[in-house]
């Protein structure tokens, strides 16, 4: 069973990202479980969402404390919060950032970056002040982890995103291409 934790800010779509990813894994035949950090979500405040997938039915009914991988929708969270808390060594950290992986000092982990903000702007997803990056970054996740196919991500995005589904899917595809590892 693999556990993934997504960090974001309220309104960035961390929970949706978690769900889309779950759908993508589900499409690849996995058992999945996706859920937000059970709390009080407020716009702008740091939020977390979780994802489990497995080859058998998932029977855990608790929060994820020691994730295998992280997705970080906003690189400022890395300084602001202890994102790597409980993260298992060698795990991936997929960061939305124009910086390069080596710019982050995360020695125990594998880091991948993609400028999802730029992609969001390119496809006019969200606004400049609050770009919607949750779909694009999933392309980076697929690219970096290779745990699932980009096509699965694209299909899930198209199924799950209610508006601008194609643009979101394209953003994910672009991210897949532009991810730096």
């Amino acid at each position: 069973m693999i556990e993934i934790r997504i960090h974001g800010r309220g309104g960035q779509g961390a929970v949706i990202a978690s769900k889309i990813l779950a759908c993508a894994f589900f499409a690849e035949g996995k058992f999945v479980q996706s859920f937000p950090k059970f709390g009080v979500e407020r716009r702008g405040a740091p939020v977390e969402a979780f994802l489990r997938y497995d080859d058998k039915k998932i029977l855990l009914r608790n929060n994820i404390y020691t994730p295998h991988h992280l997705i970080v929708l906003d690189h400022t969270l890395i300084e602001a919060t202890n994102v790597t808390s409980g993260l298992q060594k060698g795990g991936w950290i997929i960061i939305n950032s124009s910086k390069k992986p080596q710019d982050f000092c995360l020695p125990d982990y594998r880091v991948a970056c993609v400028d999802a903000n730029e992609l969001a702007m390119k496809y006019k997803l969200g606004s400049r002040s609050s770009p919607i990056v949750n779909t694009a970054i999933l392309g980076a996740f697929a690219k970096a982890t290779q745990m699932l196919k980009i096509d699965s991500i694209v299909t899930a995005v198209i199924d799950e995103v209610p508006i601008k589904a194609e643009d979101n899917a394209q953003a994910a595809k672009d991210a897949f291409e532009q991810t730096t590892i």
Binding site: K19, V32, F35, F38, L59, L60
Partner: protein, 384 residues
């Protein structure tokens, strides 16, 4: 069709499939997405129902009672304080013998404000005459809401489907959504006698004098007793139609078990892992999931537990001054059995505290270690 759905949306889908005609609801976390989704469904026209956006849970229940009295399938959903606000009307719905279905997403009662999982809200309503089913995962949410209509309309009693806040309500899992036609074939169209009808005008719920009130209450109790079989029948016929089977209780490894772990709702899932692991270690342990709480399936439970050495009950709820409610109910059910086991009642996970496999194992091992419980209410997971 399988879809990744949050528990709340699984409930919404069931309501849509059941062809519910009237929904009245008021927002409360963690129930809200159920009715948000239903609102979307009504808005888009895929569900042809009236949706009353009432000003309180109390009015939601009042409207549902009224709509059901007027002969249509009605639905509402709530949690915690919302449910408590409905309390009076819960009696009204059962006393009026209405086949209402309500989802209650189990949430802790305030104060302090706590929106997380805790069964105390619905268990506080155990004496209102409603049937109560506690479910474990999102698939069961959908399947049970459908069965709830089946059961309710057979016994003319309201049914409450309960599941844990966030652990199910907000958690996405793959759910197999039955075809609409298949559901319609299995769940007969809503057709009832004794409804508000201007062609045959009757007064409902009027004054009942002492000379017959007791008989009517007796009939209500009778209906509850009969409902146990109906719940089983619903589960069996559902299994035939959809290949997923349900009953009043579910047992795992109980036949030869010396110790039986008893759980309900989402707590059952980690318990399955624990029992599986302990079995592998050679421990004679079984698991009993109690799905039907009202009516309490006394016979089914006693049949499983009679003769066992120990029964360990995990309660994510408490009846203050006594202890865990499932544990207490089981004690009461089996009290007259000469082969009654020793019952360990554990309270844990209140207010959304995680129940991890480690915690469950801890509980089981502690019970295994002690000959008898020190007291009725044993607490696990308190800060030390």
């Amino acid at each position: 069709m399988k879809k990744v759905l949050m528990g709340n949306h699984a409930a919404s889908w069931a309501v849509k499939l059941a062809d519910v005609k009237m929904i009245a609801a008021y927002p409360i976390t963690p129930q809200t997405q159920i009715v948000e989704e239903l609102s979307e469904m009504c808005g888009s026209g895929e569900l042809k129902a009236k949706f009353l956006k009432v000003e309180s849970e109390h009015s939601a229940m009042a409207s549902c009672i009224a709509a059901s009295s007027a002969g249509v399938r009605a639905f509402t959903a709530t949690s915690a304080n919302g449910l408590a606000l409905m309390h009076e009307l819960l009696h009204w719905a059962s006393g009026a013998r209405l086949p209402l279905v309500m989802v209650n997403v189990n949430r802790a009662m305030a104060p302090g404000w706590n929106i997380w999982a805790d069964q105390s809200d619905s268990l506080s309503q155990r004496d209102t005459g409603w049937l109560q089913l506690y479910v474990e995962d999102n698939q069961e949410v959908l399947d049970t809401v459908l069965q709830a209509y089946y059961i309710a309309e057979k016994v003319n009693l309201p049914v409450m489907v309960c599941y844990d806040a966030f652990f199910l309500s907000h958690t996405y899992e793959a759910v197999d959504i039955p075809e609409k036609q298949a559901v319609q074939d299995w769940l007969p169209p809503h057709a009832r006698e004794n409804i508000l009808n201007t062609k045959d005008p009757r007064a409902f719920n009027g004054l009942v004098m002492p000379d017959v009130y007791m008989e009517m209450r007796y009939k209500l109790q009778q209906a509850h007793e009969e409902a146990v079989a109906v719940v089983k029948e619903a589960g069996e016929s559902f299994a035939k139609a959809f290949d997923r089977s349900y009953s009043t209780i579910e047992t795992v490894y109980c036949d030869d078990a010396e110790t039986v772990l008893v759980t309900s709702s989402s707590t059952t899932s980690p318990a399955r892992l624990v029992v599986e692991a302990l079995r592998e270690k050679g421990m004679k342990i079984g698991l009993m999931k109690v799905r039907l709480f009202r009516p309490f399936p006394v016979d089914d439970i006693c049949q499983v537990l009679s003769g066992k050495k120990k029964v360990v009950v995990i309660d994510r709820n408490i009846s203050f001054g006594k202890g865990g409610i499932f544990a207490d109910e089981i004690r009461g059910a089996i009290a007259n059995d000469p082969q009654a086991p020793i019952i360990f009642g554990y309270i844990t996970g209140l207010g959304g505290r995680d129940i991890t496999p480690e915690l469950v194992e801890d509980i089981v091992m502690e019970a295994e270690k002690n000959e008898r419980p020190e007291r009725l209410a044993l607490w696990k997971g308190l800060k030390s």
